[in-house]
């Protein structure tokens, strides 16, 4: 089996990007209209993000990405912007689980070493990130096997459609 490799450009975000930063509560009326909602992704934290982001780019956050509300719309709109994965130094637990449930990889690594605009090559299978701009290689922390299994199926819903239950490997 060949490794799953993604390539794209880093878009740096700061520390403590909350779910209110990712998709503010004032757009709650658009939550049942995801394409409209997605136009506002990160607009308070990174003005113009929705226009700037290109398919395959990687938002690269600092610590505690996605703190706050349980709104799964936050990873949903990030995924809809076309990004292949999110990188962060650390992520709030509900956001992390929601992103994996949406089939959006969140890779935890030392993001201080990555610069804005750096070209990255990410080996999802091996959990390695190569910064092609600086030549540095970073490894990501491992997630529990059940999360890797959910991510492999493309998210919780496809996982459940397949297994009809949670399966824990001992």
């Amino acid at each position: 089996m060949t490794d799953l490799v993604l390539k794209g450009k880093a878009i740096k975000l700061g520390d403590n990007i909350s779910t209110d930063d990712i998709i503010p509560g004032r757009f709650a009326h658009l939550r049942s209209n995801l394409p409209e909602l997605a136009k506002h992704v990160l607009e308070d934290a990174v003005p113009g993000f929705a226009l700037k982001v290109k398919s395959g780019d990687f938002p690269v956050a600092g610590k505690n990405l996605g703190l706050g509300s349980s709104r799964e719309h936050a990873p949903v709109v990030i995924k809809m912007s076309g990004v292949g994965a999110i990188l962060a130094k650390s992520a709030a637990r509900i956001f992390f689980r929601n992103a994996i449930n949406q089939g959006l990889p969140v890779l935890l690594c030392d993001t201080d070493k990555i610069g804005d605009g750096d070209e990255l090559e990410i080996n999802l299978t091996g959990g390695k990130i190569s910064d092609l701009t600086t030549g540095i290689t970073l490894s990501c922390s491992k997630m529990p096997p059940i999360m890797s299994a959910i991510l492999k199926e493309g998210g919780l819903i496809p996982y459940i459609q397949k297994h009809r239950d949670f399966v824990i490997e001992r």
């Binding site: 004032r26 709650a28 709030a92």
Partner: protein
């Protein structure tokens, strides 16, 4: 090896031995959604191909976040949720009945339960000794369908409380102080467990305020033991039969122990735009405020309105400061009317909002203008939280909010009481 509260509950509900770091599948006693996360939950439930709920009596929908609805799209979301409740035979709490977390405490949560809600402040029910945690819509959709979910068993932080609250200092000041100490991600993935001699006099409303904000330090749960205070609360809410004592083992293994002496605490504030940006009120006095908001799942209970009414009785809000009050539930509102609190608050110039989330999350009922400052008793002050990224939000206790509403600026409640 002894167990923490989290390990005890997860062992019981996963029918095995759960210790920190394990991944377990556990039975869910209550699964709920609210009106801003429920529509996506329904879509995920249907997309998974599920037709029925595993336990319809243990599933609840709350219409509280946009209630009454300020926009046609949200009204349509409410229609979707009402139809789903009817179709599935589950309970729905209508507009005006109150905030999901308050209604869960009043009507559902029991010691040792596992509760999952599509709302991060689901942790509130930890006050009753329930392993209660917020999840996203997909996770709750699957929990509704299967009656179970998976958890990584969290490591515990023991918060050891001693002493008594000084005059003018409340549970809110304690939890703000703690979040300032721990940091917004300092307890990420952990269980905050509360213990110590002070628990003997920390009331259920105070416990609900404290547990509610555990998530603001990143925690998965904020757990109190189930003791006499829990038993009395359950008896008072007609479910004394559901009481069972629940304590951590004496030799439980905690990753960190944080002692707090309540005698040393003073009124605290979170400054914009981070909950862990905490300072004593004495250092921030004098900041002008255009809105004071007393309510939410953190501080909208009867005891909170009592404190505010006592401070505001016979006084007037500052002409430059709007005062918004939202009781956490219908039961709270009725009792506050009976006790005369609502009259005192209205006579002081307050606008009373219907029981619900009100101004907390920026959808309606108190959206801030550009450059405005709000002193709120809620749990979050992120940029944009109250509907405007150009506004500033400070978080404090109901006493500090009431005192500040009178002076029109951030005020130490001890200066007025």
């Amino acid at each position: 090896m002894g167990k923490t509260l989290a390990e005890k509950i997860l062992s019981l509900k996963s029918h095995g031995e759960a210790k920190a770091g394990d991944v377990v599948i556990a039975d869910v006693d209550l699964a709920f959604v609210q009106d801003t996360t429920g529509p996506l939950t329904i879509r995920q439930f249907k997309e998974s191909g599920f037709k029925i709920l595993a336990k319809p009596q243990q599933a609840v929908i709350f219409l509280d976040h946009a209630a009454p609805s300020p926009a046609q799209q949200l009204s349509n979301d409410h229609i979707l949720l009402r139809r789903f409740a009817e179709e599935m035979g589950c309970r729905i709490y209508e507009v005006g009945e109150g905030i999901c977390h308050q209604l869960v405490a009043e009507n559902f949560a029991n010691p040792g339960d596992i509760i999952v809600g599509a709302d991060s402040h689901t942790v509130t029910a930890g006050a009753l000794g329930a392993f209660a945690t917020g999840m996203g819509s997909s996770d709750v959709a699957v929990a509704l369908a299967l009656g179970k979910t998976w958890f990584r068993v969290p490591e515990g932080f023991l918060i050891e409380l001693n002493g008594v609250f000084p005059r003018g200092v409340y549970a809110k000041d304690l939890i703000l102080y703690l979040i300032g100490q721990i940091g917004a991600d300092g307890a990420n993935y952990k269980a905050l467990e509360f213990g110590g001699e002070a628990l003997a006099h920390i009331t259920m409303p105070q416990r609900l305020t404290i547990a509610n904000m555990a998530v603001e330090a990143g925690a998965k749960v904020g757990l109190f033991p189930a003791d006499k205070i829990t038993r009395d609360f359950l008896i008072g809410h007609g479910r004394g039969g559901n009481y069972k004592p629940l304590y951590p083992d004496a030799e439980a293994n905690y990753e960190r122990v944080i002692p707090v002496n309540l005698d040393q605490l003073e009124p605290m504030l979170s400054l914009p735009h981070a909950v862990d940006n905490v300072r004593p009120v004495t250092q921030v006095k004098g900041v002008k405020i255009q809105q004071a908001f007393i309510g939410t799942c953190t501080n909208g209970r009867l005891e909170d309105l009592a404190v505010a009414a006592e401070i505001l009785k016979g006084k007037k809000r500052h002409p430059g400061t709007r005062l918004l009050i939202a009781p956490a539930s219908r039961q709270v509102l009725i009792r506050a009317i009976e006790k005369g609190y609502i009259r005192s608050l209205i006579e002081a110039g307050a606008a009373i909002l219907p029981p619900g989330c009100a101004a907390c999350l920026g959808l309606h009922q108190g959206v801030l203008g550009d450059g405005e400052v709000c002193l709120s008793t809620a749990n979050r002050n992120f940029k944009g939280r109250m509907g405007n990224p150009e506004a500033m939000i400070y978080l404090a206790s109901p006493a500090t909010a009431a005192a500040s509403a009178i002076r029109g600026e951030i005020t130490d409640p001890r200066d007025i009481m």
